[in-house]
């Protein structure tokens, strides 16, 4: 795997994780302030833009690598999203959830390696 491919995989993963956090925040805002406020709309726009970046980078990567090859990186997203949701969004992260997320990530990597 070239440095360029690694770079695009990392950027795709990070933009995907960031998008999840921004979208969750947007829906929290909508629950308290409704759908017609500028904060909600701007968060949805940012989250959608990040998802779009991740989508097109993944499409570019799929042209070069098998889906099974890219799977382990999707697996890592489980850990990153769970940890970042706890840190950034202050969601409660129990030991059970951490172990569950780690097992899911490890399982996805096993599936892709086989």
């Amino acid at each position: 795997m070239s440095i360029l491919a690694f770079f695009f995989i990392v950027v795709s993963l990070l933009s995907f994780v960031a998008a999840q956090l921004v979208l969750k925040r947007a829906m929290e805002v909508s629950a308290t302030s409704g759908l017609r406020n500028s904060r909600f709309l701007s968060l949805i726009a940012i989250g959608t833009a990040l998802m779009t970046v991740s989508f097109f980078l993944t499409l570019g990567l799929l042209q070069r690598f098998d889906l099974s090859y890219l799977y382990p990186f999707q697996g890592l997203s489980v850990i990153f999203v769970a940890l970042m949701a706890a840190v950034v969004l202050k969601e409660k992260l129990s030991l059970r959830l951490v172990i569950g997320a780690l097992l899911i990530s490890a399982g996805i990597m096993f599936v892709s390696m086989s």
Binding site: L4, L23, K24, A26, A82, R96, L102, I108
Partner: protein, 143 residues
């Protein structure tokens, strides 16, 4: 919890098509189908020698990619709805059930074989999902 409070929460809890767990399932199903469509679509129009193709935008030339985009938009709307009711630390790991549904789908419908290592991976994901899903009973109380 008093009976009054429990009744109020039961009334406020979205049910039927608005049930967030049903929406999570729909979101996963849309992602599952879109993954296959994207891979086939991207392969159809692959231009590995073109630097521009790293952006993936040339993938839009494939009709399959457009179908996949429609499903992704549908899953996105369901996902936003899910995020309104379920914490990200629970909803996101559960949504990755799609990562074992793909190989299981290939095994069941396409007759492809699954190696022992892949079965181990699938087992790990299922155990992980069970651990994550355990607090769902508590979340249900809050809905």
């Amino acid at each position: 919890m008093t009976d009054d409070r429990r009744n109020k929460k039961t009334q406020n809890r979205p049910s039927g098509f608005g049930n967030p767990w049903l929406q999570l399932g729909l979101s996963v199903a849309c992602v599952l189908v879109s993954e296959f469509l994207l891979k086939r679509g991207a392969t159809q129009v692959a231009e590995p020698d073109s630097a521009f193709s790293w952006t993936g935008i040339n993938g839009l030339a494939s009709p399959l990619v457009w179908w996949a985009i429609l499903l992704i938009i549908a899953s996105f709307i369901s996902w936003l709805y899910v995020l309104r009711y379920i914490p990200l630390t629970i909803a996101f790991p559960l949504s990755r059930v799609v990562d074992i549904l793909v190989p299981l789908g290939c095994w069941i419908f396409l007759g492809e074989s699954i190696s022992p290592l892949r079965w181990c991976g699938i087992a790990l994901v299922i155990i992980g999902l069970a651990l994550v899903a355990k607090p769902i009973a508590q979340i249900e109380e809050r809905l």
